[in-house]
Amino acid sequence: MNEMKPIRSEAFEADATIRGGAHVSQRHDSAHKHVTGEAVYIDDMVEPIGTLHGCLGLSTVANGAILSVDLHAVRAAPGVVGVLTAVDIPGENDISPTGRHDEPVFAETEVLFHGQPIFAVIAETRDAARRACLKAEITYEERPPVIDILDTADDPRLVTPPLTLARGDAAQALESAPHRLDGTMRIGGQDHFYLEGQIAMAIPGEDGDVQVFSSTQHPSEVQHMVAHVLGVPSNAVTVEVRRIGGGFGGKETQGNIFAAVAAVAAKRFGRAVKVRPDRDDDMVATGKRHDFLVDYDVGFDADGRIQGIDYTYAARCGYSSDLSGPVTDRALFHCDNAYYYPAVKAVSAPLFTNTVSNTAFRGFGGPQGVVACERVIEEIAYALAKDPLEVRRANFYGTDDRNVTPYHQTVEDNVIHRVVDELEASSDYQARRADIIAFNRESRIIKRGIALTPVKFGISFTATHFNQAGALVHVYTDGSVHLNHGGTEMGQGLFTKVAQIVAEEFQIDLDRVKITATTTGKVPNTSATAASSGTDLNGMAAQVAARTIKDRLIAFAADFYDVPAESIVFSANRVDVGGHPMSFAELVKQAYVARVQLSAAGFYKTPKIHWDRDKGTGRPFYYYAYGAACSEVSIDTLTGEYQVERTDILHDVGKSLNPAIDLGQVEGGFIQGMGWLTTEELWWDSKGRLRTHAPSTYKIPLASDRPLIFNTRLAEWSENAERAIRRSKAVGEPPFMLAVSVLEALSMAVASTADYRICPRLDAPATPERVLMAIERLKAAGAA
C-alpha cells in the first residue's frame, strides 16, 4: 500500500459542508457579471474583422402573390455587399421545425403574413443594411387576409392535425346533468418581449463548415436548420450559446431564421455575418403565444360538481404549423387544470390565419387550457351563487378515486388539497372575501375582488422522445471541473442549478465547477430548453456524468489503497479513503497518474412516460407541479382601471435545488402571466398589420404593476413523488398560471356591480377597456 499524504488536513476541518451544494440558495452564476455589464451576449462579442450585418426585408401585405421583386436600389445603396433571396439558398428553403415544409426562409411566390421575410440585405454596417432594406420595390396581388379566429368560420383550415381527448360519454352526461350552461371565452396571445432580441452571428469555416452563435433555446435545432438550409451535413455546423437575454419560448424555433440567414450570408461572402433585427421587426416577424377562442358546454349538479363537459379550443396559429400541434395539444392536456371530469370531450382546432406563425411561450398552450377551465368554474359558481373556491374544492382531483385525467393518466401525486388549504389560511381568504363583499356594498365607484385559483401542470415534453439529455463533465488534474450540458441559460438559473448538482456529487465548492457555453460540438442531439424540463433532464445527465467519474475515482482509490469501496467517502472538499483524508484534487491527480479517465458523458431519459396521440391515452407526464395563488384587486368602475392590492402564492417545487432561484421563477412567472391576462394586448388592424409591435404600444408589467403586497412561499414540505433530480420539481412554466387569480379577482370586482348574480365573462387580456365594457354589459343585463 502506498503511503498516504496528509495534505493540509487541518483545512479540511473548516469545511463542514461545501459552498454552493444542492438545496441551498445560491446566487445566479452570472449575477456579478449582469450587474457590471460584463456578461457577454452575442451582440457584445468581439466581432471578427470585416463582420457584415444583415437585415431582413419584410412583406408589407398580409396575404398575396408576389408579382415582382425589384432590389436594384437595395443593391446600389451605400455599404451594401449583397442581397439574398430564396434563389440564393444553397440547400432547402425551409425551416419548419416539425418538418411540414410550410415555413420558408424567404417567401418565393406568395406571402402569407404581414412581416414575412422576402429577402435579406447584407451590408458593412447594421445601419446601412437597415436603410438599404427600405429601398426594395415589391409588388403584390393582394388577397383578403384571414386575420382573426372569427374570420376562419367560413373556411377553417388547419395547419396541423387536431387532437381529441375523450373519457366517458360527455354528451350523455351533459344531457342528464341537473344544470347546464355554455359559453365562449376569448384569450389573447402574448409577445415574449425577451429584453435581448433575436440575434445570430455566423463565422464561415473551412469546407462547408460554419460556426453559429445564436440566441436560442434550441442549439441542436438551429444546427439542423442551418445544415438543411446550407445543404451540408449537421457535422459541418456548430452552434454555441453562452447565455440569452430571455427566451420564454420565443427562442425555441423563432431564432432559426436569423441563424439561417447569417449562415447563408457568411458562406456566400466569406465573412462573419451578424443578424440582429430591430425590436419592431422582431415583434412583427416572429411568433407569439397563441390566442384562443374556447367554447365550453358544462353539466353540473347543485353542489357545482361537474358531471360532463365539452370543449373546443380554437387557436390562431398563423400561416404555418411551427409548434402549433404540440401547443394546442398541451392546451387540451390542461383543460382539466386540477379538476376531475367524470365525462369529457375536448377538441383542438389549430387554425390557419394570415398572421405570424405562433409558437412556444411559457406554458406552451397550458395556460390557455387552464384559464378557460377556470372560466367554467366561475360560470358554475355564479350560476349557483357560490364562492368559486367552493366549486373548485368540489371538483378537485381525488387522491384515491376521481383521479383519472381526460388523457387517461392517473394523477398519483396530488397535493392540491394541502396547497389550497394552506394558502386559504395564510392568505386569510375567507375573512378578506367577506370584508370585500361588505366594502363593495358601501363603495360606489371603487370595487374590490378576490380569487384563489389552483394550478396543476404536467411535466415532460408530450413528444416522448424529447425527454432525453446529455452532459459532459471533465475533471482536470488540479481538481477543477468543466461542466457542459445540452440546456441553455436564459436567466432561469439552469447553469447554476446543474453546477450545484455536480458540486454536490463531487462534494466540492461550487466555484470549482466551471460552467461553459452550450455547444452542439460537446453535447449532441439535444432537446430545446423548454417545457420546464431544463434542470430535470440536464441536471440528471450531469449527475450521471459526475457519478461515472466519481465511480472511477472510487474504483481507483479502492484498488490503489486497497480499501473497500464503501469506505471511500466524498465530503466537503475532501475524500476519505478508508479513514485517511485527502483533498479532492490530490485524489484526482493520483487517478490521472494511474491513467484513469477523468472525463465522462452522461445521459438521461425520463422513465415511465408514453403517449398514444391517435388514441388519446397514455402517461405523457412524469409528474405534476402544483401551486395556488390568492389575489385581491381594486377596480375603478368609471374607467375600468385597476390595481392588484395583494397576492399570496404557495407553490410546489418539490425539494428545491435552489430556493432563491425557484422563488425568482415563481415571482417572475406570476408577473409575466399577469401581464398576459391584463395589459399585454396584441392588436392587428384589418390589413393584418400588428400595431402593437414595440414597448411604446405593447405594455408588459412595470414594477408599479406588481401586487402592492406580494407574499410568495415555496411548499417546503414537498418532495417529488417521482425520482426526478434530487426530488425537486420543474418550475419554469407552472407559476405562470398563478396569475389566473388576478383575472378572476377582476371578474369578481366587475360582478359586484350586478350583485354577483351574473358571470362577467371577462375575456383576456382584461385591459381597463375590457373591464369597463364588462361592467357596461352587466349594467345592461341587470336592466333587462
Binding site: R27, H28, G37, L134, I446, I671, P701
Partner: protein, 492 residues
C-alpha cells in the same frame, strides 16, 4: 452680435474626455458607446426609449450651477446633445479593485437579475436613485423604475435590492463622489458660451449658445430640425430612419430652460424638462403631480421638454390638455420677433400647427388659478405608468355660490389635436354644480368629439371614459373616492 463658434464637441465619458471633430448629427449615444467605444455593458432593448436597458447617467451643471446627474435612455439621445456633459456608463461603477458598488452588490445579494439583459439599465436607474435618496420608500423606488422593463424577475427582488442598497457599506469610493470636484470644474470650464457649428448640409449640426443665436440659426436654416429632448425625434431616426438634418440642438441654449413666476402665473421655457416642470407646476396646481408622474419614466422625464411636447403637435401629448384647460399661452420666436397665441389655437389640425418656418416655441405662460377655481387632470392608459394616453382630460371650473361660472375643459386622444370641449363647457356654465348638471352635460361630449378606434382604445371606450372623467371630477370634489391610488397614504 458676435458669436464665438467652435467646430467640435467635447464631453466627459466616465473618466475620459472625448473630443469629436466630426460627428453624424443623428449618431445615438448608444451606438457611440457600443460600436465606437466598445462599452457593451449598455444594452439596446427597444431603440425607442421605452425599456430602459440602455440607461446611462448624464451629469450637467444645472441652471443654478449645481452638478446633477440624471438617467437618460442612450438609444434615443444624440451624441451631439452631450456637449459639455458627463456621461456615466455601467462600466464606471465597479471599484478599480473589482469591488462591486453597493447598488450592484444589493442586486446580487437579492437575486435582482435573471437573464441579466435589463440589469445594467436597472443598476443605473437605482444608482441615480441611490445618489439622491439612499433610503428610498417603495413609491420612490417604483417611480425610479418606471422607465425600466424587466421580463424575468417580476421586479420583486429588484425592489428588495433597492431597499437594501443603503445597508451595504461602501468598500471603495463612489466614483462620482470621488471625482465630483474635478468633474464640476471641467464642466464649468467648458461653459464658454460658444455656439457649436459642425458639418455641412444634411450633416450639419448646430448647438446655439443663446436664444438669439438659436433664432438666427433657425431663421437662416428654416428646414433644420429642432432637437430638444429627442424623446420623439430620436425615434424618427432609430425607427423611421428619416433624413432630418441639419439639426439644431436647443437643450443647451441659455435661458431657454428658465422657470419664472410672473404676476399672473408661471412662465416655463421651452426646454424645461418634465422633471423640472413637474417640481414647479405641482406646487401651483397640485393635481399635476400625479399626472406628471405618469409621463414616461424618469429617463424620458429628464430628457423630454414641455416645448417639445407642444411643438410636435401630437394629439396624445400629455401636457397640452392640462395646459389648455389652464389657459396657457405659447410664445413663439421668429428671428427675434415674438408672438403669443393661446395654446389651443396653436394646434390647427393633425400634423399642422400654427408655426411658421424658422419659428420656434420659446416659452409657455400658465395663469394661476383664481379664487373658487378647481382644477383636475386625469390620464387613461392601458398600463398605469410609462404609457401613452388613450385619452387625457383636464378640467378647470369656477364654482361660485354653488354655480359653475366658468369652465375650460380639454382632452387629448379624443380628436386630431388636443382640443377643448366647448359644448360640454357650455352645458355646464351658468348651472348648478350638481350631479344633475353633470349628467345633463354628458351628451355634449358627442358634439365635441368623435374619437378614433385604435390599439390604445376603441372609440366607444374613449367616449364613455371621457364622460366618466367629468363624473369623476365632480365626485372627487364632493369628497368621494372615485379613482385608484396605489399608495393611498403617499398620494393623498
Amino acid at each position: 452680435m458676435t458669436l464665438s463658434t467652435r467646430t467640435h464637441i467635447r464631453f466627459r465619458l466616465n473618466d475620459r474626455t472625448v473630443t469629436l471633430n466630426t460627428l453624424r448629427p443623428t449618431e445615438t449615444l448608444l451606438d457611440f458607446l457600443r460600436l465606437e467605444r466598445r462599452l457593451t455593458g449598455t444594452k439596446e432593448g427597444c431603440a425607442e426609449g421605452d425599456c430602459g436597458a440602455c440607461t446611462v447617467l448624464v451629469g450637467r451643471l444645472n441652471r443654478d450651477g449645481v452638478l446633477v446627474y440624471e438617467t437618460v435612455t442612450s438609444c434615443i439621445r444624440f451624441v451631439a446633445s452631450l456637449d459639455g456633459c458627463h456621461v456615466v456608463t455601467i462600466e464606471h461603477l465597479k471599484g478599480k479593485d473589482g469591488t462591486l458598488h453597493p447598488v450592484q452588490q444589493a442586486m446580487v445579494d437579492h437575486h435582482g437579475s435573471q437573464c441579466g439583459f435589463c440589469t445594467p439599465g436597472i443598476v443605473m436607474a437605482l444608482y441615480a436613485l441611490w445618489m439622491r435618496d439612499a433610503h428610498p420608500s417603495r413609491p420612490t423606488i417604483e417611480k425610479a423604475l418606471q422607465g425600466n422593463l424587466c421580463r424575468c424577475t417580476g421586479y420583486e427582488p429588484i425592489i428588495r435590492a433597492a431597499e437594501a442598497m443603503a445597508e451595504i457599506s461602501q468598500k471603495t469610493a463612489d466614483p462620482l463622489q470621488a471625482e465630483r470636484d474635478e468633474v464640476r470644474s471641467q464642466l464649468a470650464e467648458w461653459q464658454t458660451g460658444e455656439t457649436v457649428d459642425m458639418g455641412d448640409g444634411a450633416d450639419r449640426l448646430i448647438l446655439p449658445a443663446s436664444i438669439d443665436a438659436l433664432a438666427q440659426s433657425f431663421a437662416a436654416n428654416p428646414k433644420a430640425t429642432i432637437v430638444a429632448g429627442s424623446t420623439d425625434v430620436g425615434l424618427w431616426v432609430t425607427k423611421q430612419m428619416r433624413p432630418i438634418g441639419p439639426l439644431i440642438f436647443v437643450k443647451q441654449v441659455e435661458g431657454l430652460d428658465a422657470i419664472e413666476e410672473t404676476d399672473g402665473g408661471i412662465r416655463i421655457g421651452a426646454t424645461v424638462s418634465y422633471t423640472d416642470a413637474s417640481a414647479v407646476l405641482s406646487e401651483t396646481y397640485p393635481a399635476m403631480r400625479a399626472y406628471f408622474d405618469r409621463i414616461g419614466g424618469d429617463q424620458v422625464r429628464n430628457m423630454g421638454t414641455i416645448g417639445g411636447n407642444i411643438a410636435n403637435g401630437s394629439p396624445i401629448g400629455d401636457t397640452p390638455p392640462p395646459l389648455i384647460a389652464l389657459g396657457a399661452t405659447v410664445t413663439l420666436n421668429n428671428a427675434g420677433t415674438h408672438r403669443t397665441v393661446p395654446l389651443e389655437e396653436f394646434f390647427i389640425d393633425y400634423g399642422n400647427q400654427d408655426r411658421q418656418p424658422g419659428e420656434f416655441v420659446e416659452r409657455i405662460d400658465i395663469p394661476k388659478l383664481r379664487n373658487n377655481e378647481i382644477f383636475a387632470v386625469y390620464k387613461i392608459s392601458k398600463r398605469r405608468d410609462e404609457d401613452i394616453s388613450a385619452l387625457a382630460g383636464a378640467f378647470k371650473l369656477m364654482i361660485e355660490a354653488g354655480r359653475i361660472t366658468d369652465a375650460r375643459i380639454a382632452f387629448g386622444g379624443m380628436a386630431a389635436t388636443p382640443k377643448r370641449a366647448r359644448h360640454v363647457e357650455a352645458a355646464l356654465v351658468g348651472r348648478d354644480w350638481s350631479i344633475e348638471t353633470i349628467e345633463a352635460a354628458l351628451p355634449a361630449f358627442e358634439s365635441d368629439y368623435q374619437p378614433l378606434s385604435d390599439w390604445r382604445a376603441s372609440s366607444d371606450y374613449r367616449m364613455m371614459t371621457a364622460k366618466n372623467l367629468l363624473r369623476r371630477c365632480f365626485l372627487e370634489q364632493q369628497g368621494e373616492t372615485a379613482s385608484l391610488k396605489r399608495f393611498a397614504a403617499v398620494e393623498a
